[in-house]
């Protein structure tokens, strides 16, 4: 605001300078896309005015301290417009974004990837590109800000989350989930700019939508403004108003896509392809930009660098306030997201206790018990569920839920919004200060796929609690019974998939999910009760090796049974029957995590799998299991979709029983 007011004192000169600053963006965008011969100039050129005003007059960030906790978060939800962000980063002076990086736009190893990639360059707060993810992730960021502010004080936590969203972002379903949640929680520091250019890839948006977007956002509880997205004063006033609002804001910015390209602007031709040398020359002339490609005159660059200087001042003031705050150290600590060692100590004690008691519970129930311990021992965890709290068992005693009037709680009712939940959790994790976990049924991982993939791609510690993990859920039937979901998740790079077999493994898997700070975990849990299977007392976390021999027969193995989750108990029963009835010595291997098993040495993996024939048992699709059973092995699981019936009937119906394992064994080793 101060900067905004300051500019008014010498409006004429400031306007001229700001116009030049905007042209610098447009020129850099045209040049970079042209050199790459690939990319999207339309959005960055259309939104160059908005971005200039936002960065020049409002935004709070310090390129030399890109992780400063109280920086504003800038989210380019329309990620195909990545050149807008790269141009801004060069102009305000992020040290890792010299002009050479813009010249290497979209080339191997460049920081200037086709879409903004979290971790590639400083100041990129999240990966975007799949439309709608940015706005939905931003909801989590804005929520994190409010929660940290309540914990540590508004004097040291007070920043905004700015989003640039396109028509695509707002057509995607995830945007509905996101804005409904943001409006409900009155996340007033979330400010969304809609690049309202009426153009999508296929042509005018009128080909596919007639929605009254402003009315839609108002219905969701947003403060809505509608402006000319090329009028700098209108933009500045709208941002100032939005910052005053008690609701989240939508600023509809009516823009011309590709603004500045005299012959192509306003058409889908500027959306996703270089403008061509001739049009770029014409644009230079029309803008009055006589400078060479990739060249920004020193005075204009100097004007842009003022943004960084303002940010640095603000950061210095914040450091002073933080030093004075009783919560300064705690904030710095929270942002590191270090799970205290007491959590792990308590979890080991939990394991010892239940090993002795041989506690038989559903693993979803075991997870609830484990969460009770974790949530007691650390404040970092933030729970939630997509309206299945008492099925996922994700709430623990004393957890207060968050509402628009009270952000001091630790539990989020995400609503029936799996995708929005997953994206919001990404935002909570990216913002810093929290380790989010959230529940739904495993089958509804489908709905959250887009955001789960981004958790993995961004390497964020988000923990998915996915219960009702097989036909074991029973009567709800095939729509609710996961079949292909384990394969889908296991095939996803950078994602831990845990399917614990009993209460002990559940505690171990939770511990591993907490230890793996650089990746998301999915903990897949049963609805039905499962016996405690672990025999030896051990402080070792056996799940940490991904797979291990749970039962080794007295005689040399004639067979190895591989299983995960609820099917490990069935394998154990089968092993007993094989020995009792036929004196066939069978080992049972529990495989709670394929990913971790893959990371073990070849020697360890061989010792676990061994040379004897193998049968895998899992109430899911076969895909992937052949890696472990080999060509001579067998698989007992699901061949198609499930059915609606009590769980025990279904296991019999689909032949996932000890008897069936015994019969298959007899065929296999005869």
């Amino acid at each position: 605001m101060s900067t905004y007011t300051l500019r008014q004192e010498n409006r004429e000169a400031a306007n001229v300078r700001e116009r030049d600053m905007t042209n610098a963006i447009r020129a850099l965008v045209m040049d970079s896309v042209q050199k790459a011969n690939s990319g999207h100039p339309g959005m960055p050129m259309g939104m160059a005015d908005v971005a200039t005003v936002l960065f020049n007059r409002f935004i709070k960030l310090d390129p030399l301290h890109p992780l400063w906790p109280d920086r504003d978060r800038f989210v380019l939800s329309a990620g195909h417009g990545s050149m807008l962000q790269y141009a801004l980063h060069y102009l305000i002076g992020y040290p890792d974004m010299p002009i050479e990086e813009l010249q290497r736009f979209r080339q191997l190893g460049a920081k200037t990837a086709g879409h903004p990639e979290y971790g590639h360059a400083q100041g990129i707060e999240l990966t975007t590109g799949p439309l709608g993810q940015g706005i939905a992730t931003a909801v989590g960021m804005a929520l994190a800000e409010r929660m940290l502010a309540v914990r540590f004080g508004e004097d040291i936590v007070d920043h905004h989350t700015y989003v640039i969203a396109g028509d695509g972002c707002l057509q995607e379903g995830i945007s509905h989930e996101a804005i409904d949640l943001a409006g409900h929680l009155k996340l007033s520091k979330l400010i969304v700019f809609w690049d309202n250019n009426s153009i999508s890839i296929d042509g005018p948006t009128s080909l596919s939508t007639s929605l009254d977007q402003l009315a839609r956002f108002r219905a969701a509880g947003f403060y809505v403004q509608d402006i000319d997205g090329h009028d700098h004063e209108a933009i500045a006033q709208a941002i100032a108003q939005a910052k005053l609002s008690k609701q989240p804001s939508l600023i509809s910015c009516r823009t011309l896509i590709g603004k500045g390209a005299p012959n192509l602007q306003g058409t889908e031709k500027t959306h996703g392809a270089p403008l061509g040398e001739a049009e770029i020359a014409a644009a230079r002339q029309a803008m009055g930009w006589a400078h060479a490609p990739f060249h920004v005159p020193e005075d204009i660059l100097e004007a842009w660098r003022e943004v960084a200087r303002r940010g640095a001042d603000e950061r210095r003031q914040w450091c002073v306030k933080t030093a004075a705050s009783p919560f300064g150290d705690e904030l710095r600590q929270a942002v590191k997201k270090e799970i205290p060692e007491t959590v792990f100590k308590d979890l080991r004690a939990f394991r010892r206790l239940h090993l002795e008691k041989a506690t038989k519970v559903a693993t979803r129930k075991a997870s609830e018990m484990v969460l009770g311990i974790i949530n007691n021992a650390t404040d970092l965890t933030i729970g939630g569920s997509a309206d299945l709290t008492h099925s996922n068992l994700t709430i623990t005693p004393g957890m207060k839920h968050i509402s628009a009037n009270d952000f001091s709680g630790r539990y989020i009712h995400y609503g029936i919004r799996e995708h929005g939940m997953a994206a919001a959790m990404n935002g909570l994790a990216l913002h810093g200060g929290f380790v989010p976990y959230g529940g739904t049924f495993l089958a509804f991982a489908d709905y959250a796929r887009g955001a789960i993939r981004l958790s993995a791609l961004m390497g964020q510690q988000v923990i998915y609690v996915m219960t009702h993990d097989s036909i074991g859920l029973g009567e709800d039937g095939p729509t609710h019974q996961p079949i292909e979901h384990l394969a889908m998740l296991r095939a996803t790079p950078g994602l831990n998939v845990f399917r614990p077999a009993d209460i002990i493994e559940t505690a171990e898997c939770w511990e591993l999910a907490l230890r793996h700070k650089d990746r998301p975990s999915v903990i897949v849990l049963s609805r039905q009760n499962l016996s405690m299977l672990r025999q030896a007392d051990s402080t070792e976390n056996r799940s940490s090796r991904g797979a291990y021999v749970l039962r080794e027969p007295a005689e040399p193995r004639a067979l190895t049974l591989l299983a995960s989750g609820s099917e490990v108990e069935i394998a154990c029963t089968a092993a007993d029957m094989l020995w009792g009835q036929y004196q066939i010595p069978a080992a049972v291997v529990s495989m709670p995590s394929w990913e971790l098993f893959e990371m073990q040495t070849l020697a360890y993996r061989r010792s676990v799998l061994a040379a004897a024939p193998r049968i895998a048992i899992e109430a899911a699709a076969r895909l992937g299991w052949d890696r472990w059973i080999g060509e001579k092995g067998a698989f007992i699981g699901m061949q198609g979709f499930g059915a609606s019936a009590p769980a025990s009937d279904l296991y019999r119906h689909f032949g996932i029983t000890p008897e069936s394992i015994v019969a298959t064994t007899r065929k296999l080793i005869s």
Copy 2:
């Protein structure tokens, strides 16, 4: 309407009777859920009044002819309330829904599955349960009705699509995509009842939403009414008004969840569990329903059967009109969805031509050429894309797009709405009359997962055209480059996944997708150009066997290279190098469809795979490939996410090259 007016003549008696009819539903619901000891009584009891009025006074269907093309479509989007549908089916007299089926609710093999399952019982128009799918699929049904009406006349195509949706359906993101599209296309015969009971599983909906739902639907172009959902006259008037509207309708029905259960109604306790014997007894008393469990007195049953008689009359009248219509036969033919044999003849000619010409094109381009032939030879196909028309190449010459003012076209601009598109295609397929296909990028299969799974579960012929199928898309980077998606789709039961290697296989795979009437197909296509690889002239569709030996070396095989899509060409080059440089005779096997290969005889599969060591090459995740390469084989593909760079750089960077295959071979067979 006629029936609605008729009732007015003797309103008093009619009201009493209709009240009894409603109580019959409530009693059957309570009894069935109690007997199953599982299920959701709350929604059916809350919406029993709406359902009674809709069925008693309006709906047009004939239980003895459940596939009558001009029937109204009834969509229970809130599928957990399945007992509402089963009670209705029993009451109006579907022959396959005797009282015994209600008594077997949620038991193995019963028609009364936990959620309505398409194909299990007559009159179930679609599978529901995953929330939001029903309303989104209904949009496709209502669209199909409009399109058929334009083709064959309003005199013989004139029916409504009625949807019951819950809070969950409307919170899910897919609902946004659906209502935006429905409003845009002014699908005025789509009438959505919102079970506005303010209760979700976790408790009051105010825990997670503050949305003004009515304003939201108005923004999307719906005609919106808000009524007391227990007031029969208000319900009837609202339906009558909705039928007059030129827009799609939302009728907000304010209801009490579990209405009729005196101590529990209005609370989440009635949502998902039996009410208990005591509460059921109290409800019977409060309703004045003195009848035994599962018993409906003859006069009330008789009143319900009147619905069927009215429907039978309407069907008879329709038969007369259809016989008189010049388009009657065509409609009957269209509904069968028989692709004419000329399509397949033309496709064979296409293959012969391009075999001779050795046409080198991207398989997405080949698909466009194939579609040109298909769309020329049949009117059944309806194309579309989620705003990537000119990337997916899904439109062919002369295809007019559909708009609110003109339903005579064959191309749908679905907007940036992958999930909504997939669900709408399910609706088009389920309705009958069309074979829909629709395009997006393969990576965005993620967004459509929920509906793709239902295509498979329902066995619907929906064809997904998914282009940009690997790192071969280049600069757009890891968010756009599929890795785990092939595994995710291949693991899905009942889904054909085709990844053709060249123009010939593309034509073959399209042919197979058209031949497989009972299942969806995903055709996965490259952005980059691919050489024509097929050597021998052959009218045989070699892709029909799923995998086949494309190149057999002159000498006995020392190695088999397995690949799909764009990597088959790389494998061929490697085979040439292996022979030229090291005299290693390597066969190349193209595997366009794992599912079809699985269906071949063991002898055929063995002849293709052979005994020599195998290397699989696919620019995707390894998961699943071990089934084909065996324990001694190798895999060359992606180990993690992709990157942003030109495609050729990426193939080199990730080591998916002929050179890398040669190096791996030398290690493998040394």
